[in-house]
Symmetry: C2
Subunit: 341 residues, 2 copies
Amino acid sequence: MGDGEENRRITLAEVAQQAGVSLSTVSKVLNGRQDVSSATRVKVERLLETHSYRRTTRVAREAPLIELVFHELDSVWSMELIRGVENLAKAHQASVVLTESGTRHAPAPDWIEGVLQRRPIGVVLVFSSLPDAVKRQLDARSIPFVIVDPAGDPEPDVPSVGSANWSGGVAATRHLIDLGHRRIGIITGPEDMLCSLARLDGYRSALNMAGLAHDPSLVRFGDFHVEGGYARAMELLQLPDRPTAVFAGSDLQALGVMEAARVRGLRVPEDLSVVGYDDVMIARWSSPPLTTIHQPLREMGEEAVQMLLRLRAGEPSVTRMELATSLVVRKSTAPPAARNP
Amino acid sequence: MGDGEENRRITLAEVAQQAGVSLSTVSKVLNGRQDVSSATRVKVERLLETHSYRRTTRVAREAPLIELVFHELDSVWSMELIRGVENLAKAHQASVVLTESGTRHAPAPDWIEGVLQRRPIGVVLVFSSLPDAVKRQLDARSIPFVIVDPAGDPEPDVPSVGSANWSGGVAATRHLIDLGHRRIGIITGPEDMLCSLARLDGYRSALNMAGLAHDPSLVRFGDFHVEGGYARAMELLQLPDRPTAVFAGSDLQALGVMEAARVRGLRVPEDLSVVGYDDVMIARWSSPPLTTIHQPLREMGEEAVQMLLRLRAGEPSVTRMELATSLVVRKSTAPPAARNP
């Protein structure tokens, strides 16, 4: 790999000389920049073609990158989203750059520097919003971006993919009502997230539609984690007239509810029915396997990449897409046991 | 951002001219390649310094990439490894390119093309081996690589990070013996993986050290998945003299054992103790929370990046590193219940 092989190829300096332009102009043409006259562009491109110039420096074009940014990689559904994005990226010969940055609300400021240097074909952000400065920087480089927002709180001017939270809340609650439950508790997500409120509203509407009263003492806000599910379930199970079923608002919270039941000496589903939300892998693996609302996380990742590619191609694209949720019945739900008065 | 700003800076062609070397030599110096005499290197570097050359084309250095390749992203411990690699990459201002490719044994052939184009600062592979052709291609580009190999089956000439499987098997079994168990079943991993054999040998040695006989009817090979754990546990629990404890060889298999116990009407830990292996998040979240062997997956990812950076810097580095495993006692193990003869 000495100078021998290199010298057989034309150098960019030689192209510049033959075209009568500066080396930086040749470089701009190679990198597809717009601030070069079209006459110059054509001249340079013909020279490169004639000499079969191998674009060893065009990293961004030959090995395209899609950026995927999370604020937190340890939530169990990150992997499902990653797989969706990775699947579709691979189908388009692109690789995925994975970054953990910032808070639930926005990536950290230094993140954007790396993105601008890597020149990805697009950015998928798992955040509920995006600072205006970041939007402007990406827009200025024509780098399209899409928010995947399981929290359901997108800004109207940002393309985003979510799922149907309200319908999910209705389906979970209706399933429990159909089994015969009348005292149904809910542990939804944090109070400041739209998805929590949408699922809670779905729960209330399902009760209303069935002509059942809504008892505010059976409603709790959680944190989407196991510990929160456990703590709130312990409160619900200590009520004088405890619920016979709990809609847990996330699979992790449902695991916490099952552990609370175990500690209180209650069997699931014989003494307490539990419904989760998300349908991540652990829902299948818990003991008993968890009845839950399937949120199509992998498809949401795939859809986000599809949106990116449409945006990049300048095709018209919807701004907000909500994928359907669906009930998956496993073994954590059953009719309520007959109780002594 | 027109030509004005660009022209105020020295071009690489001018540096080459002033140094009396070819443009490709200047480029080699910039890219840190070794096939340039040190006199030439010093001359070129001084010129670049004098003219405050801004390395706008050095994408690889300004936004460095670390490649992380899995054959399968859906195993629960992928995320822990990803977080380890991502943590340490971020500490070195590098980004992580995540790829799913090939089989358990090696990445797919097309994967290497993308890597050579992206010119990462190094490659972390979660595979048990690497084809010679891939090794040669990476070596020729001076791209260092490290295998993270939880299966414990590394090739001697490839730098790799693993963990202490035999010691883990001893610790799990000894914990059950110390609780008073005498009939201890084991469901280890697949028969063709070294880590399975190491954990099984650890189990046998712990029994021997305690003066207990080793009963081959209590030994099963699994698949490291929940379903395999469930099926093998059903076999063990149907034995006339069933085990009072099972060492499950992976946390997923342990979940399968717990579900088998539930289906057979046995309580964990009152009627059956269960020990997992890995200590992934679900071990904390299962009901009851799982006693398990902690495999330091995140640290293994971090260590792999450290090894890459040492290799890249030309520092001496060990070829094989095994991190320690440790017992984490939670609530799935207890002394055996007194049984009627």
